[in-house]
């Protein structure tokens, strides 16, 4: 009996304890994950953490050293890439330079057995060109196209085959900022329209957060956390994730008390912090090192002696810098004993209170619900 994945109806891609070794590096280390059908899934992590290798294991360019890879419930270990129902968009596009746009896009169809008729291929290429908004470009040579256009040809060349899953390896890295933003939106729309699974590799956290349904954060070949963008932002399991996703203030200290859901941390300077422990994180022990993570937008900034907060943690400090960013202001506050703290203050509260200038003595505060106590790794 062929090996079956746990739930072949729902899952498109599944890794079971996959390890990939190159001579002396472990590029992917005992990785298990599952991607639901129709999801927009992202691998996010710093350079060299094994994102591309994971994608290549799905595409079939590399075979796992250990473990099992499933596509649509069937194990694909040992099956070469030309027999797998997935398609890839390469980082540098890898368009065939000796073919025009039409021939590039129709390439996959022409390899099929039985091969579709000429008219059928022409029709589908035209439809796909229209889908990626490149109608009329069919006879162009690929090097005559701009980066964004080449990107869309690469997309069309993959999508025309109706793969079960589209793999994208940093597809937007070569584009400039503005074009990248446009293509992000275009990709998202396209994914919703065609309804196939997209697996995106990126090291740009903003890109991953804005586009994906689920994100898998990797480090040194291992998965640190998988979750929706919101889960990763609100409940990072460790300091690495909190630091990687969005911006955070960290306060180091020792755990002095633990309840079912909260932990109390005392910093070197004696400041006491209370915060919740994120779901899914390894439980902290009393006396262990930990850090308290507070997002800058969760911190309120007030004039000193403006005693309106009671149960909140409050620290005094001095404004070092203020950057006006339109809808909000970003303050850097040097605190007494807790280092520099970043505060993001929305315009609406600024007009109610007053805005501060460098040198002002202020008090920053947040409620216990805004703070997370996480392991210090």
């Amino acid at each position: 009996m062929p090996k079956q994945s746990s739930d072949s109806q729902e899952l498109d891609i599944e890794f079971r304890n996959v390890t990939k070794r190159f001579e002396n590096v472990v590029a992917v280390d005992d990785m298990s994950l599952s991607v639901e059908r129709g999801a927009f899934f992202s691998f996010l992590g710093p350079s060299g953490c094994g994102k591309t290798t994971s994608l290549r294991l799905i595409a079939g360019f590399d075979q796992p050293s250990e473990g099992d890879v499933f596509i649509s419930g069937k194990s694909v270990v040992g099956i070469p890439s030309h027999k797998r129902p997935v398609n890839m968009v390469f980082q540098q596009y890898a368009l065939f330079p000796h073919m025009d746009v039409t021939d590039n896009i129709g390439y996959g169809l022409r390899q099929r057995n039985p091969k579709p008729g000429k008219q059928e291929i022409i029709k589908r290429v035209d439809e796909t060109l229209e889908m990626v908004r490149l109608s009329g470009y069919g006879k162009r040579r690929v090097w005559e196209l701009s980066g964004g256009q080449q990107q869309r040809v690469a997309l069309a060349r993959a999508l025309i085959n109706h793969p079960t899953c589209l793999l994208l390896d940093e597809p937007l890295a070569a584009l400039d900022r503005k074009l990248r933003r446009e293509m992000q939106i275009e990709l998202q729309t396209l994914q919703r329209d065609v309804g196939i699974t997209f697996i995106l590799v990126t090291h740009d956290q903003e890109e991953a957060l804005s586009m994906s349904d689920r994100i898998c954060i990797m480090r040194e070949g291992q998965i640190i956390q998988t979750g929706s963008p919101r889960e990763l932002y609100d409940e990072p399991v460790d300091r690495y994730v909190a630091d990687f996703v969005g911006r955070t203030n960290f306060f180091d200290g020792d755990v002095i008390d633990i309840t079912a859901s909260t932990a109390t941390v005392k910093s070197m300077s004696g400041q006491i912090f209370v915060g919740s422990q994120p779901k899914g994180a390894t439980a902290l022990a009393k006396g262990s090192k930990a850090c308290v993570a507070v997002r800058p937008e969760m911190i309120a900034i007030k004039a000193v002696n403006d005693a309106s907060h009671s149960s909140n943690i409050s620290i005094n400090g001095q404004v070092m810098n203020r950057i006006f960013l339109g809808e909000h202001s970003e303050y850097l506050v040097a605190t007494e004993g807790c280092g520099d703290v970043m505060v993001l203050s929305p315009r609406s509260t600024e007009s109610m209170n007053r805005s501060f200038v460098p040198g002002d003595h202020v008090s920053i505060s947040w409620g216990p619900e805004a703070a997370l106590v996480i392991g210090n790794t």
Partner: protein, 270 residues
């Protein structure tokens, strides 16, 4: 310094210029120019010995070019997969084989072939059925072609490997990803990418084989290639006819070499 450079160039090109000049000389002797004429070309082309030698050279050069571009390309593709010490070893051997002087190849091939023939011919004779005449291995087309190919194949390998190295590996993966079998990937993607190098290798091999004298002289046996013919006729005195043949060979070689150069310069179909 400038005088020195000029002297070198004169030394290089004046003899060639003289050959070309005198091939159009109406007079019989190299000592005097007597006006323009193409009679020597006419004479050379209608000389049956020249014609035979020319055909022999063409057959050899063409076979060498075909064999070395086929085998050289295949070898280059296979060597591509090697890694580590075997790769270094083969790369080194290939570069060395290009640098080996023609005379060494000539002697080595001659000695090797003679030894093999001496060993095989009695065996063949004894294995052959009584009555019929056993075949006898000897120097001829095959030995020249083999000796030339030995050298030119390395040339093709070097050219094709350089091209493969410059090719985007992702193109091959993209083709595989788009359902093309390895064989289809080869002729739809790899071959169109490397064919300029193969063609250049073909032309260089052809030119090398067509112009070669030393190696052919050792292993050609009874066959007379054009360079061997020229050498032989020069011993009977330099005639304007030889000048005409030399000029024709020169022009043909230059055209082939320039074409090869052009192909190698051409970037990936852009």
């Amino acid at each position: 310094m400038r005088i020195y450079a000029i002297a070198v160039f004169l030394f290089l090109y004046v003899p060639i210029g003289i050959i070309v000049l005198f091939s159009f000389n109406a007079g019989r002797h190299a000592s005097e120019l007597k006006g323009f004429s193409i009679q020597w070309y006419d004479k050379a082309l209608s000389n049956p010995f020249v014609g035979d030698a020319f055909v022999t050279s063409l057959i050899v050069a063409f076979s060498v070019a075909i064999l070395s571009s086929l085998m050289g390309t295949a070898a280059a593709l296979a060597l591509q997969r090697l890694k580590g010490t075997p790769k270094m070893l083969f790369d080194g051997l290939i570069y060395v084989s290009v640098m080996i002087p023609g005379i060494v190849i000539g002697i080595a091939t001659l000695v090797a072939l003679v030894t093999v023939f001496d060993f095989l011919n009695p065996l063949l004779a004894s294995a052959w059925p009584e009555g019929s005449k056993p075949p006898k291995l000897h120097m001829g087309y095959a030995s020249v072609i083999a000796a030339h190919t030995l050298f030119t194949m390395s040339l093709v390998i070097i050219l094709v490997r350089a091209r493969i190295a410059g090719m985007d590996r992702a193109l091959i993966e993209a083709s595989m990803d788009l359902y093309a079998t390895p064989w289809r990937t080869f002729y739809q993607v790899t071959l169109p990418q490397i064919y300029p190098a193969i063609l250049a290798g073909f032309l260089l091999s052809f030119t090398f084989s067509f112009d070669d004298f030393i190696i052919s002289f050792f292993v050609a046996g009874a066959n007379t290639t054009l360079p061997i013919y020229i050498f032989a006729s020069i011993r009977r005195g330099i005639t304007p006819e030889v000048n005409a043949i030399g000029t024709m060979v020169l022009v043909a070689s230059l055209v082939l070499l320039l074409t090869a150069q052009f192909l190698l310069r051409k970037r990936t179909q852009r």
